[in-house]
Symmetry: C2
């Protein structure tokens, strides 16, 4: 572990310009007053797991949603917090580095200092290892100067992901007690946020006064649920990857002799591959979720690609680009069993269970396709030119990138929200922003209990069957009935045959494209939190219209309408209809 | 070969914005008059080869330099061309695609139409194969619309590079005759421009009226000499590669557990690797030129890297980034002989002699370093953590990129110059722009006979010895006595030990960084053409001062001074002192 964390560094012209950029704050986070409104108590999305989750998290399950309000909102029940004692907070990076992570630290630091200049922020050095070992760096303006809006996690470093064994949990608690932390902010993905929920529960049980807050930062984009629309890092990584995929498409079309097989980092779920496909329009993508749903074997996949190559050859096209998500390999049934064994073995020595990034699926498939095409050529069923594949793995090149404007803003705002959560005295919550596809001034800021994002059933396993385990925040897989996937299906044939390649170009910070969002974010039907609020408005209206003294007819109409609403909802929420 | 060249396509927001960008023209190319001033007859840089070159090129060797002048220049001998008959020109892409190539076509088309709207431009489809087969597409504004400032060669495609065998040369001549071309523009690197010179000579000999013009477009950046400062594509490719290398540096520093071994496309010379090192400050780079100069074996290289890894481990650093140029492998003496054999074999079936891009040097070295580190660990001479390398090859991802502003401008201007060369009736010339490190309005446009860039001696061979062959434009290798390399040497230790990583960031088209040039271009001591002009000013001044009628003393002083100038120059230009 290096000893030079947080040292100032020489920046390039662009890095310097970026270091001077300061994201705005949505109205609800402006000023020095924290205004919080609590919603109803939360439940788990899958009602069948609610019981199990509540048993595992007796102190932190069922807490209400929290909404942070702008000064002009008139909400009678809102809690107004004007008193801000100095507090001491720790922050730790967990898991794979994602562009924007540094801005969570910056936003949090800003918020702490705005509300009380005596508050302090400690960064744990070297990830969770640094937490256990109580190795800290005090975050100051000077320390942050050359890390604002910059990529990587090198301000603090990272190490192993997990805070899971009792030894680790106890070490974390000992650190929080020793350092007298009022809050511990955990920056990471599904695993780290599950760990955050467990820590919160354990701390609460043990009367440790440190509140634990999670922040959704993961390039995989798989920490998605009714409360979380997007993850910090996903936007940047998809943009950098798409640029490179598009460059490969242009290259393929210019030389007309190669097929590029491109594997994309993104863990089990195929969100990165799906987004990049919608950005770049490569000829083909095979999502892990499709493979699971159709129970495709490696032979099926080979045949599918070979048929595509052959169809293109008939149009005299001997080039192409095929995307393969990192998680594809463990979606293939016959590989799944084998990988489970390897997982078990690797877990003993590594944090990244399965080290998926090291399995060269793209090469495996390229070799199989090449062999099959040669066979077809010999048999005379294929009459085109020799098939040649060149393989790429995109991941490491992207996750160290300067973050996009969106990720800079999103992370910075999440950092501010972390302070608001602590000011409201909440424990076991995740910072959330909704309405993200709109401009920053319309973003809605809030917090949701992490336990409300948990489930005991795992719908994402490769076997296609549903497995039941301990409550965790599961990675959200690509919804094959969702809008984003639908757009892909509608365009798949055109993408395959017509080379309608599109290049989003390099990440821009000024001019056209600088404010762009991911395609997924723009077309997904999100804003759950917005709808919750909208529903409350309806309920309040009903209540204000149907006050004692209203006519019998109005009361009857209201009763009858509400009764049918209840009928519909009871049927939909019964365990046998549990949706993901 | 696809049949849909030049079709309009859907562009992303940024692509669209770029397609509306129109580069400016330097003053010397503005308006509808071509003003050309001829310099002295050219010679070859290496005087010892002059005789051989002049014998191979009796019709095209020794032609004068040409400078294109702005309207305000007062040069009595300048040729003013106001009459612009309609002409017919063909353009062909040769060799590896380089970002910006499309803008040569655009600039040329614009210049043709400005000077005579009846002139036509034909693009050959599918590279030199299309030239031989006389497959053309007429370039129009509509065809160009979605290809302006866009990457790749997909407007026209490319195939094999060479126009070299008598069969190929005759096919090219037959095409030019059949299509009644006044000019043939060859867009490519050292090989293609050598071919252009041979075509020009053959055409001249055979009284074929088509004039041949070369354009320096190669991502390798190795078509450099006294007349050519930079190549189209190099700027973009280095910027895209540097961005990715910097991302890997940030990634390495964040995770602190991997060494990234990164091989860079760029053929035999190490210009791309050197430029990227100066942009990104990775820990280490091994230039092919250093290996040749020091006759390093693969064992030496392994040891060098292992010693670096060990030195870093002593500072508790277990991560790093090592750059390896594509040409490194053939710079290693023991590999060179073997590769020569493979070359000979491959040349029978491929244009890219040696398919360097397919040899995974980075993996070879990673394996050797890993083995050596394990050995040292066992022997107890190394006491650090296990060495882990992850390998990357950057090339295909970069060369399809949207071109940088610099490459857009440079290529567009070169396209215009091609027309000026044809208008001046020149054959066997290359379009040149000098003073490139300054702003576009100060660029100097001209043309130089390709034969003046040729040599018979090859100083770049891996054996370190000088080989003599037929006259060709040799790739310029990195000058180990030059300023750019000196900057690398001065910083090498700091780069190795201090992790002073720098991220130029993604290519920008607006705001900070959009106008940046490569480090190499900025610090190299270029502007040969500027100095030629400056020298002529001195000579003219001497002539005007020492006119008949001046005093005897002045005449004596002039004679004495000029005589010593001559003494110095004769010694320096004698064949035994021939410099590269």
């Amino acid at each position: 572990m290096g000893s030079d964390y947080g040292i100032p560094r020489d920046l390039s012209t662009l890095q310097k310009a970026r270091s001077f950029y300061k994201p705005l704050l949505p109205p609800c986070l402006q000023g020095t007053t924290v205004r919080v409104e609590f919603g109803d108590a939360t439940t788990a999305a899958d009602p069948s797991g609610a019981q199990a989750i509540s048993q595992s998290f007796p102190h932190t399950y069922g807490q209400p949603l929290a909404h942070f309000l702008k000064p002009t909102s008139i909400v009678p029940d809102a809690q107004i917090i004007n008193d801000h004692p100095a507090i001491k907070v720790g922050v730790v990076f967990c898991g794979r580095q994602s562009p924007g992570g540094h801005n969570v630290v910056w936003g949090l630091h800003e918020a702490l200092k705005i509300h009380n200049s005596s508050s302090t922020l400690l960064g744990f050095l070297g990830g969770s290892e640094g937490l256990f070992a109580q190795k800290t760096l005090e975050i100051t303006d000077d320390v942050l100067a050359t890390y604002k809006n910059q990529g990587g996690y090198d301000l603090l470093g990272r190490s192993r992901d997990q805070i899971r064994t009792s030894e680790q949990v106890n070490a974390a608690m000992a650190a929080c007690n020793a350092l007298k932390l009022d809050g511990l902010i955990i920056v990471g993905g599904v695993t780290s946020n599950t760990d955050a929920a467990h820590l919160a529960e354990t701390f609460s049980q043990a009367k440790c006064s440190t509140k634990v807050v999670g922040v959704p930062v993961t390039l995989n984009g798989d920490l998605k649920n009714q409360f979380v629309e997007a993850n910090v890092g996903f936007d940047t990584v998809c943009k950098v990857d798409s640029q490179l995929i598009s460059n490969l498409c242009t290259d393929a079309l210019s030389a007309e002799k190669y097929y590029y097989f491109v594997r994309l980092m993104g863990q089990k779920a195929s969100h990165v591959a799906l987004e990049c496909t919608l950005q770049s329009h490569p000829n083909m993508v095979i999502l892990g979720e499709e493979v699971v749903a159709s129970k495709l074997t490696i032979f099926d996949l080979t045949k599918q690609i070979c048929d595509a190559v052959q169809a293109r050859a008939e149009k005299e096209k001997y080039h192409g680009v095929v995307l393969l998500p990192e998680g594809l390999i463990e979606s293939i049934p016959e590989v799944y069993g084998l990988l489970k064994e390897i997982h078990r073995f690797l877990r003993q020595e590594s944090d990244d269970s399965a080290q998926l990034s090291q399995i060269e699926t793209e090469k495996l498939l390229a070799v199989l396709v090449e062999a099959e095409m040669s066979k077809r050529l010999k048999e005379g069923t294929y009459k085109g030119k020799k098939f040649t594949a060149i393989c790429h793995f995109l991941g490491y090149q992207a996750r160290g990138s300067l973050p996009s404007k969106f990720d800079c803003d999103y992370a910075y705002v999440l950092g501010h929200i972390c302070y608001h959560i602590l000011a409201a005295g909440l424990n076991g919550y995740m910072a959330t922003v909704t309405n993200l596809k709109n401009s920053l001034s319309k973003w809605r800021c809030g917090a949701a209990p992490i336990t409300a994002m948990m489930a005991v059933k795992d719908y994402g396993s490769a076997s296609g069957s549903i497995t039941i385990g301990r409550p965790v925040v599961h990675p959200a897989i690509v919804d094959l009935r969702g809008r984003v996937y639908e757009v892909l299906r509608q365009n798949a044939t055109k993408f395959l045959m017509d080379d309608v390649y599109r290049n989003p170009g390099p990440l821009q910070y000024d001019g056209p494209g600088a404010e762009s969002r991911t395609v997924s974010l723009c077309i997904e039907d999100l804003d759950y939190m917005g709808r919750i609020k909208e529903l409350n408005v309806y309920l309040d209206k009903v209540r204000s219209i149907v006050k004692p003294g209203c006519s019998q007819d109005i009361l009857k109409a209201a009763l009858s309408a509400m009764s049918s609403v209840m009928d519909i909802l009871s049927v939909m929420s019964s365990p046998s209809n549990g949706n993901i």
